[in-house]
């Protein structure tokens, strides 16, 4: 199981600002190890952020997203104290879900 995500969601006058830092290798599948064998690709392919069960952002990522991916966006309709859920799935079927409270 991968390490937990760091999620920060803050209520601002023009919406809720969400910042997520995930912990993931994001291997491109282009690199070779010291023996010359290609390191197989391993990257997050889908990310979904839901607020009160309603998706507020979904992303499809390729291997070109940097290691330990960072994501920032803003949405309207969130209030202080409400829950926000972030889920990612990688190309090996591994998944992780974390929850944060809007502050």
């Amino acid at each position: 199981m991968a390490d937990p995500m760091r999620i920060r969601a803050t209520e601002q006058p023009d919406g809720v600002d969400v910042r997520v830092l995930m912990s993931h290798e994001m291997e491109t599948g282009q690199r070779r190890d010291s023996a010359g064998a290609i390191v197989p690709a391993h990257y997050i392919s889908n990310v979904t952020v839901t607020h009160n069960g309603k998706p507020v952002l979904s992303a499809e990522w390729g291997p070109a997203v940097a290691k330990n991916p960072y994501l920032q966006f803003k949405f309207k309709g969130g209030k202080k104290g409400e829950k926000l859920t972030v889920t990612w799935v990688d190309n090996k079927g591994d998944t992780r879900t974390d929850e944060a409270t809007i502050s």
Partner: protein, 155 residues
């Protein structure tokens, strides 16, 4: 001793529940993965990617802003933000022209979410970064050149 045993029983029960939940989410994960647009991520150029995403061509638009450094010192971590002022923005895509596969990331923006996302991408070399925005089923594009002093692919 007795208490320990009870705790153990409790814990193992909880663990069984957790692993059952894990199985379910793994299956869900597989279903979700099928939603991943493989052809778009394998396309090698802007036009190919737009076609793979279901568009015909993309028109330049001044309503899209790319926030990225002019010179990125480390190609492995290039912060890129895209803001779209085009009404009804549905999707935002970030493309890097000279990467092995152009498409780096795609975002679906539901109503109520600002068309303003930032993330970090990898760049193999100095290249144009395109931001493609899908609004009302039309595709718009903006381009910015980012110079990379140290590549982020291979190494």
């Amino acid at each position: 001793m007795k208490q320990n045993r009870r705790r153990f029983v409790k814990l193992s029960g909880a663990f069984a529940l957790l692993s059952a939940a894990g199985l379910i989410s793994a299956r869900e994960a597989l279903a979700q993965q099928q939603a991943w647009n493989k052809s778009a991520f394998e396309a090698k150029s802007l036009d190919e990617t737009v076609k793979a995403l279901g568009g015909q061509s993309s028109a330049p638009n001044a309503g899209i802003t790319i926030t990225a450094p002019d010179i990125a010192e480390n190609g492995a971590v290039v912060p890129v933000g895209v803001t779209s002022k085009i009404p009804n923005t549905q999707n935002v895509y970030i493309l890097v022209e000279k990467n092995p596969n152009s498409l780096a990331a795609g975002f679906a923006i539901p109503a109520g979410t600002d068309a303003n996302v930032s993330t970090r991408i990898k760049m193999g070399q100095t290249s144009n970064v395109h931001a493609v925005v899908k609004a009302d089923n039309k595709f718009y594009v903006a381009t910015k050149e980012v110079k990379v002093t140290l590549g982020g692919c291979g190494g």
